[in-house]
Point group: C2
Chain length 329, copies 2
Amino acid sequence: MPAVDVAGEFETIRRLFAPLAHLEWGRGLADDVAVVPSRQGHDLVLTKDAIVEGVHFLPTDPLDTVARKLMRVNLSDLAAKGAEPFGYLLACHWSPRCGWPERMTFADGLRADQKAFGVALLGGDTVNTPGPASFSMTLLGWIPKGRTVGRGGARPGDLVFVTGAIGDGWLGLEGVQGRLSLEAERIGALSDHYRTPTPRVDFALPIRDLASAAIDVSDGLIADLEHLAEASGARVEIDLETVPLSAAGQAWFDGRVDEQAALEKLVTGGDDYEIAFTASARDEAALRREADRRHLRLTRIGRVTAGQGVVARFGGQPVTFVRPGFTHR
Amino acid sequence: MPAVDVAGEFETIRRLFAPLAHLEWGRGLADDVAVVPSRQGHDLVLTKDAIVEGVHFLPTDPLDTVARKLMRVNLSDLAAKGAEPFGYLLACHWSPRCGWPERMTFADGLRADQKAFGVALLGGDTVNTPGPASFSMTLLGWIPKGRTVGRGGARPGDLVFVTGAIGDGWLGLEGVQGRLSLEAERIGALSDHYRTPTPRVDFALPIRDLASAAIDVSDGLIADLEHLAEASGARVEIDLETVPLSAAGQAWFDGRVDEQAALEKLVTGGDDYEIAFTASARDEAALRREADRRHLRLTRIGRVTAGQGVVARFGGQPVTFVRPGFTHR
């Protein structure tokens, strides 16, 4: 494509992105393409997410956290499939507010997370837009041939688990918008989770080896379990009281009068980037060992039965949700 | 990522994009990821381009041609490397003007070009933006291991070639903006080239086997040859009189008083999506056979010498360009 960038497409690539490129495969970001050797006995796993200012992130969000969130939501997709990420391509649609300092901040965020998660930039494009900034990333990973964990493998009798804590994504969005009355430290922790969630990359291997079906919790726990149930042709039953909350989430929850309504917010809010998955009961002990080894909280929240859809119970009674997941405006 | 689409992210994916997905690798676009088997003995070649309404395409452009242009500019990148495309991921950032009819038109364009070029949709994302529409595509291809043609392989003594005709991209942009005084049929041909250029996908194999260096002409012939010269550490010398023009381009050129100024416009205008490449003189006959077999025009426009940069001559005299390539506002 032609150069399109008032701040200089070539300059942006050369100064900010070339230092992030994979030394061999990225070809110095100077050749229109990336070239990656095939990995024998493996499948290539790809995902691509896009984010838009004012829709997926706030105009006031620092761009390093925007870059890191973009990478992390993609990493979360791969982790839930059991795949090992190695590289990414990036399209930056810079808005007029994205001058050099903002672009450098964005690149700083990428650099930090490349190091944290062991991936490298392979290529992409940088263009200007008169509208709000937006970004998209294509993340690539490998997995041994045929071992990708889908959404469709849950069978009656399997147990349902979730990593980490649920609800911090929604609470974090409330927090950054100033709608939470909690201690500043709690709000800080929740806001951090919203801006830079922790994808469960280091739990990908146990997922690959032990999960029958898996999905990352991005639309909301209930909505994502509905996707899993539909793909599996089975019913997922969960007990809302067992859904794990973070310390900050618990503090918020403890201040609610209507516990059921509060839980409903947390399990339909989205942006958690935990992994919800099913596994055979005989693998529960092995899963707990793998989680303990990684100091990762792992919670059993339900079971798979014959039927369809998701049944969520509170106090033993099924709960009906107005909307199972989060939809941006 | 959470659902973000007033017209329905899930509906858009299910009704418009799922029918375009690779039957096996795309997983029905229902699993966050695509899974592609490795191809033994091959390298994966990737490219990613982004386009923005009002910058790379006009707000009045029909969305089927926007989709096709996006695919074609990516295909052009791969063709110039000698790679064989197989699939793509797509991010659609829909603007408020993109309702169902517009989205269907966009999908129609994809469908037509998938069939024409033998590629399939693997995955991606669809989001809404309050700003102008934009799109990005990651295109994937295979090439036998180590055979990717770079920009850096030109050696003194090599000849310089270009496929097709140069200048129709720039003339086409003038045409769609109503700035050309030519017969309607000519303007139509040029506008068509601007909206749906022809990537030289079917010349990728000869490029792979016979070119020493190659680049697709997107920024402008001179600018792209400068990239090639710089990467090769050599000088590229061309004779402007030998640069091939289309019938419409020739008709426009014949109406100019200042021939040199006219040629300068054509070789710096960009958006041609032809392949400029270098090859050993002993391979010229084989290249011509391969081009003839494909009914593709192939023109020798110069030679590689020791030195650096691009020297373009007109009437035997070196020409200095104010700007070697096209930059969007």
